[in-house]
Amino acid sequence: MTAPLLALREVTVEFGGGHRPAVRGVTLSLAAGEVLAVVGESGSGKTVTAMSLLRLLPDTAVLSGSALLAGQDLYRMSPAELRAVRGGRVGVVFQEPMSALNPVFTIGHQLVEAVRAHRPWSRSRARRRAVELLELVGLPDPEQRLRAYPHELSGGQLQRVVIAMAVACEPALLIADEPTTALDVTVQAEIIDLLRDLRDRLDVAILLITHDMGVVAGLADRVAVMKDGEVVEQGDVLDLFARPRHPYTRELLSAVVSLSPLDEAVVSTLPAAVPSAKAALVVDDVTVVYGGRFGRSAVRAVDRVSLHVEPGEVLGLVGESGSGKSTLASVVTGLRSPTSGRVVVAGRDLSTVRRAERRAARGRVGVVFQDPTSSLNPRATIARTIAEPLLLHPRDVDADRRVDELLELVQLDVSLRSRYPHELSGGQRQRVGIARALVLDPALLIADEPTSALDVSVQARVLDLFRSLQERLGFACLFISHDLAVVERLADRVAVLRDGEIVEQGPAADVLTRPRHPYTARLIAAAPVADPVVQRERHTRWRELTG
């Protein structure tokens, strides 16, 4: 191996305010054309390490150590040099795409800007490049999308935009922080292909931060494992997967859940296919149309969808990115009224009942939002946020105790109570969202990608938590996820959404092992497996399947 493209030495990052250093003595290196995956516990300092490279951390962060990019220390660069590196030689994919884009500029504007920051191109040429980039990341209708504002795109679509932005100027180093969390497996596979292609064609080095061991297995050359701000183990991917040395690594790998093989599944008992009278949630023929603006065509985000969730049942909602899952969730949670159709929660049609009753009903529904960052009030501490439902629907419990209890349940340190959202890692924020949704012991839980930002070990524990709670309380759950393995583990039934329509619905085991619809089959085929050898094989097969 030649001199590394990127070399981190003894990087330590401290935040003011008496916190422990978030990153301690991290030493890593990365050669051109190499993919280094950084995995580890949520909150272990992966994002902070990556962001420190381009000095994108808040002013409160104090950096020490060195980070050499082709021999030049990034930590000591002049602002002008740094500017040339940012977006030019180093591209970044941010962990939370939904808040990473400026809400007041169109996608196209922001892409064009990214291109023109480093290329002396005309606006129209940059625009052509933007279209090309969106095609590259598999966003349908790129011309149209350029004129969309961030809030008009789904989580996965935004993530692809952020990826497009990061690779816009063909960087030598790509920092990809959870680049696939919001993507369904087919798109995810395409993105991995894209990254692999970049590496092969342009010799791009990739610093890949992810929780998805399948992605690691499919893409990485080397792996570094972080825990508690330190790198506990690093090595070749095959080696590490085969012979994990550090106990944490072992724990991590063992926590990985995989999709059952297609034929090995056991047929479970069939729950009712038609909603019973007691159904916790009935979605009846719901359509949501986003109005077209300035002569643009309207988007039918949800198209005549009917589904239901019985008490004590978990309905997994899977489907393509942009297929209308979050939209459906927003209808169910009452944030958006459907263009047509009916939503019945616990036997009551929420559009007809009185306001007080509707509000009371909300207390029985817990919601986990897809974008944890924006769903947390930046001016409220974690404890206040988690306790908020208790303010709205007073219970006879001690709020403080309840908050501590929940923090523990979602594996968050109680010391985080008084922090503000921006002082947390992505996964920590997501768990705050989960805790808030559970604080009232809801009868119905709507969870939109609740575990996407969690490392597998924490994810496993959260899933266990769901399970046990469900057993204890018997709540119903609409569980939206891209991770088919997770869905399989948790869901009783699965509905597959595509282009706003339900293409298939049935018992989980059934749908995931004997898919009837070709789209479902493709989804299952695309799901990555956390084994480098198997995953590489699967990938080849998938390539053949999609042609």
Binding site: G16, H151, S330, G363, F369, S374, R379, E388, L392, H393
Partner: protein
């Protein structure tokens, strides 16, 4: 958190001092041996009516010098004026902020017909010939109505539209933010959303606009006293002293400097305190410094 912010602390101390000046006005002037009403023409320059002696007659007898043409003690005027001006300025500001924030946030959050009614009312009030209204009011309101209360009501009322418009604008973007949706999905009603989600994120502009409106309100109090609606002379007021002093800038600048500095300090202190408060309320900047 404020304790760590030296400037905010300075602001708080200044406010406390001004409040002390107002509350103890009688005591301070008694110590000085003056009062704000007695004419002391002997302290004036017989040729011009301007204060005799340098610096507007500043000395041991008259700490801030004397008022031209009357010889009344300027320190006494400033100290007693603090009562009128401080009280009215603050109370009126509080009233406008209260109305403005409530209406603005409700209009922005709930939208629809309510929004339109609030917007129109704000427009009507902004376009309203308030000068004529004040003149009319001065003549209509019976003398028994306590003037300070009347002033606070009138000034406060005419001040809400601009605050409401800003708050409304902010609310319009805030209401689309995820955390507001999150609260709504939890069954939060407008009151809860306002109190817990909007308000903490609105403090920035509210503090700015309200602290900066204090001098305008004190000036309006002075203007209204000329229309017969304010606190009648000779009750001292900063606004009236300043407006009288403008004519004398060239001859007796100290006449302007003392009440002017008092007004400046009052506004300044509320602004730095506001800054400190804003920073303290903003978790992202609070840790700095």
């Amino acid at each position: 958190m404020l304790r760590r912010d030296r400037w905010a602390l300075a602001g708080a101390v200044t406010i406390a001092l001004l409040a002390l000046l107002a509350v103890g006005a009688d005591l301070w002037t008694a110590i000085e041996g003056q009062d704000p009403y007695t004419y002391r023409t002997e302290a004036l320059d017989p040729a011009t009516g301007a204060p005799a002696g340098p610096l507007g007659g500043v000395g041991a007898d008259h700490w801030f010098g004397v008022e031209p043409l009357t010889g009344r003690d300027l320190f006494a005027i400033v100290a007693h004026g603090a009562r009128t001006s401080f009280l009215i300025g603050l109370a009126a500001t509080a009233l406008s902020v209260l109305i403005g924030v409530l209406l603005g946030a409700t209009a922005g959050y709930l939208g629809g017909a309510l929004d339109r009614v609030v917007t129109w009312s704000a427009d009507v009030i902004l376009g309203f010939p308030y000068l004529v209204f004040m003149i009319a009011l001065a003549a209509v309101v019976p003398g028994e109505v306590p003037r300070p209360l009347l002033l606070v009501l009138v000034i406060g009322f005419f001040g809400w539209p601009s605050i409401a418009r800003i708050v409304r604008a902010q609310t319009l973007t805030l209401r689309t933010r995820g955390f507001v949706s999150a609260a709504r999905s939890l069954g939060a009603g407008p009151a809860h959303v306002f109190r817990h989600e909007l308000l903490p994120n609105l403090w920035g502009p509210i503090i700015v606009v309200s602290t900066l409106s204090i001098p305008g309100k004190i000036g309006l109090e002075a203007a209204l006293s000329f229309l017969g609606l304010g606190i009648p002379p000779p009750t001292p007021s900063w606004g009236r002293a300043i407006s009288a002093a403008i004519d004398w800038v060239a001859t007796d600048p100290m006449f302007l400097v003392f009440p002017g500095a008092a007004l400046f300090l009052a506004t300044w202190s509320f602004n730095v305190l506001g800054d400190g408060l804003r920073d303290a309320l903003d978790p992202r900047t609070a840790v700095l410094r």
